[in-house]
């Protein structure tokens, strides 16, 4: 049955491609989460009326975020080739793709983090200040925990975007399901491979969305 419906699918290749996609998405999501929160905190804390109010720095970080966020991902990969050669010695393969994925996704996530932090009730921050909390304590004990549901739903959206970015990373030989669908499915005229890859990507996305929603709901006590 499966043989007749998907005559050209090599399940070993398919599994390998799935693993590559999961690897690229997984590592880049973790790195984006950390980097994005750092950048988002920078954006938030340097904005008007906050701890490190600094117009210059705020605009600098903002400009970096806006520029990298605006460059189409496929172009960003090409632009980053020299950097990955310098950093990793090669610009090919899944690990080289990680650099582009993180550089592309972190600024996007940073904006979502900034929005999440802005939603934190200012009164609560003031209450903590009135108790004598230091800025460090306010960041760790107030800002991050109170915005956690927004941070988690933000990373869910970002990681789904990252799955589609991994498909584009095929141009630098990153592998993964998108690459497989394009080379084996489209270029060799095997629509069954394209369809199987699509179904696997959809399953991946649904699982990520489900986990994201579940965690967000668990965290949100409002």
């Amino acid at each position: 049955m499966i043989k007749t419906l998907f005559p050209n699918v090599d399940w070993m290749d398919m599994w390998e491609a799935t693993e590559e996609t999961i690897y690229m998405t997984g590592v880049s999501v973790i790195a984006t989460f950390i980097l994005g929160i750092l950048l988002g905190l920078m954006l938030y804390l340097t904005s008007r009326g906050n701890f490190w109010e600094n117009k210059g720095l705020h605009q600098l970080v903002g400009a970096y975020v806006n520029i990298t966020r605006s460059i189409p991902f496929i172009i960003l990969i090409i632009l980053l080739i020299p950097l990955s050669e310098w950093l990793l010695g090669t610009f090919l393969g899944p690990t080289a793709a990680l650099l582009a994925l993180i550089v592309g996704a972190a600024p996007f996530y940073a904006r979502l983090v900034e929005i999440g932090l802005r939603e934190v009730d200012h009164g609560v921050v003031q209450a903590a200040e009135a108790m004598g909390a230091s800025q460090r304590q306010i960041i760790w004990k107030v800002l991050l925990p109170e915005s956690m549901p927004a941070l988690v739903s933000g990373i869910t959206v970002t990681s789904i975007a990252l799955v589609s970015y991994t498909a584009m990373a095929g141009v630098i030989g990153a592998g993964g399901l998108g690459d497989l669908a394009f080379r084996e499915g489209f270029q060799r005229g095997n629509p069954d491979i394209t369809i199987t890859s699509t179904i696997l990507i959809l399953i991946l996305v649904f699982i990520m969305q489900w986990i994201g929603d579940w965690v967000t709901n668990r965290l949100d006590k409002r």
Partner: protein, 340 residues
């Protein structure tokens, strides 16, 4: 305990400078419940926020327990703030933490170890009457319960001063009373100095020993609550006193009353001790007059009562005259009300 000298706060906007607080001189004694009343925009919130430097003053000094807070920075200021608890109109609890974790928050900030935190949280939960709700989240609590958590949290580090910024303004009247009762108990049991900001005269009347009235960023009148009630000097103060001790619209009420055929209409003001005595019944037994009560309102404060009464004193001209003299001797202010 708290001394404010020449305190001033100017906010700069694009077009102009706005003085939110100007020239405030206040002195608050240890163990006192000090009320600061004013309409919104009078600068009272800015004033209370300068007491813990949430709002740094433009000039002047804020001395709490002999320490000038305006001179403190960084770690020193944070330590001083741990001696000043604060509660807020909208409670400002962390929704991501349970009741117990919210109360533990200032203890974490102060670096108290875990075992000690737990004992202290347990004590505080008992103090504010929230036993059994320790693991509830703020969203599962009523407004009054949230403010109890706020109070427990404010008291966690055993502060010497408690600042209340419109602490009861978001609560219904019954809950307000229970929270005020709790604050009074804490003041008496722990000898805590309390500063209360409010726009409700009711709150001042219920719990405060002294009151300062604010208008346009300045303190226009201050003193013991009863004195200020008795002899309000400023229009704004008279307005507040009316809220609790006089008919809502005196003039209009009096207008509906027909001029008496004989005798006089009089407004009697009772203050302090005289409000507790049966002055009217003694009056009719002493002087040949009848007294018909048309309106009356009496309010109790921490140190005594205050009230007004509109009466018709009926009798011969001579008897009415004697009645006024009697009232004056009894310590009741009586003024003739004329209606046409």
């Amino acid at each position: 305990m708290i001394r404010l000298k020449q305190l001033e706060k100017v906010f700069q906007t694009k077009t102009q400078n706005v003085a939110a607080v100007q020239n405030v001189e206040l002195s608050i004694e240890e163990g006192e419940i000090f009320g600061i009343i004013g309409y919104s925009g009078a600068g009272k919130s800015t004033l209370v926020r300068m007491l813990n430097m949430l709002e740094p003053p433009t000039s002047g000094s804020v001395e709490v327990s002999g320490q000038d807070l305006t001179k403190l920075r960084g770690q020193k200021l944070r330590e001083a703030r741990q001696d000043i608890g604060m509660i807020f109109q909208h409670f400002n609890l962390l929704w991501s933490r349970t009741v117990a974790e919210n109360i533990a928050f200032p203890l974490e900030v102060a670096g108290v170890d875990k075992a000690e935190r737990e004992t202290r949280v347990h004590e505080l939960v008992g103090l504010v009457g929230l036993e059994g709700r320790e693991s509830a989240y703020p969203s599962q609590l009523s407004g009054g319960q949230k403010q109890r958590v706020g109070i427990a949290r404010a008291l966690a580090n055993r502060p010497k001063v408690l600042l209340c910024d419109e602490a009861t303004s978001a609560l219904d009247p019954e809950t307000t009373d229970s929270i005020l009762q709790l604050i009074t108990n804490i003041n008496q049991e722990l000898g805590l100095t309390v500063v209360m900001i409010t726009h409700e005269m009711h709150v001042i009347r219920k719990v405060c020993h002294k009151v300062a009235v604010m208008e346009n960023g300045g303190v226009v009148e201050q003193g013991p609550v009863l004195d200020v009630f008795q002899r309000p000097q400023q229009e704004v103060t008279k307005g507040f006193v009316k809220q609790i001790a006089a008919p809502d619209d005196e003039q209009a009420e009096a207008e509906g009353i027909a001029p008496p055929e004989r005798g006089q209409l009089a407004r009697l003001s009772f203050v302090g001790a005289s409000a507790g005595e049966p002055v009217v019944s003694r009056l009719i037994r002493t002087v040949e007059v009848d007294v018909n009560i048309l309106q009356g309102r009496l309010a109790t404060t921490v140190e005594g009562s205050y009230g007004t009464m509109l009466v018709h004193i009926d009798g011969t001209a001579k008897a009415v005259e004697e009645a006024f003299q009697y009232l004056e001797k009894a310590g009741v202010e009586a003024e003739v009300v004329r209606v046409d």
